[in-house]
Chain length 124, copies 2
């Protein structure tokens, strides 16, 4: 069970899926430390490319992700986490899933309503 | 609806999900040409990092992916395709999903049986 972190600058993509509904919630990146922290704590932990540091998902919003199952792909360079999404929303814009826009023709359409107001949750 | 291909050397990750079962099948990468080809043809088309060219999924095995829905994420740098997986298997190793190994403790366990024999499908 050795993941290959070398192919993409030390990062592998992690697909996050709601374990109860099957909804795909988001994609994030993990370095080796994030992967180890995720497995040892049971809380999804990523590497923030913008902040260049480990990021426990939900540390600000409270919407943490409890890992129910972890799967690795055939090439050992992508992981799939099936999680319990605390608070019901994974997206920093307040939606259940970061994939809240569906392609229709040449544009995209927002589907669904935000679960929380980002202005309230992330206020300074 | 403008995707951001600049963040990762011109490639964005695409999560592929079975539209009927909700099973996450695989992750692949798309450059802008692959994204346009996927939308215009309705067949999932990726960029092969190992072969450095466009790759119509299933062109060798016959297990093409018919796109039912395409979604984009909040940062415009990841896509989710919900597909009909022709032939029932997405993985080149013959399994329904590339995520056929589940983490259990410090190792991984294969879950499920292959749908096809890769030695037969990809023989020269």
């Amino acid at each position: 069970m050795k993941l290959n972190f070398k192919r993409n600058n030390g990062l592998i993509p992690a697909i996050i899926q709601d374990a109860s509904t099957g909804k795909v919630l988001m994609l994030a990146y993990m370095n080796e430390d994030a992967w180890k922290a995720s497995l040892s704590t049971g809380r999804a932990t990523y590497f923030s490319r913008s902040r260049q540091k480990l990021w426990v998902k939900g540390e600000t919003s409270g919407n943490i992700q409890l890992i129910k199952e972890a799967w690795i792909d055939c090439d050992n360079d992508t992981v799939l986490l099936r999680v319990e999404q605390v608070g019901g929303a994974a997206c920093h814009k307040g939606y259940r899933s970061c994939f809240f826009r569906k392609i229709e023709g040449n544009s995209s359409k927002v589907i669904g309503e935000p679960v929380f107001d980002p202005g309230e949750v992330y206020k300074k």
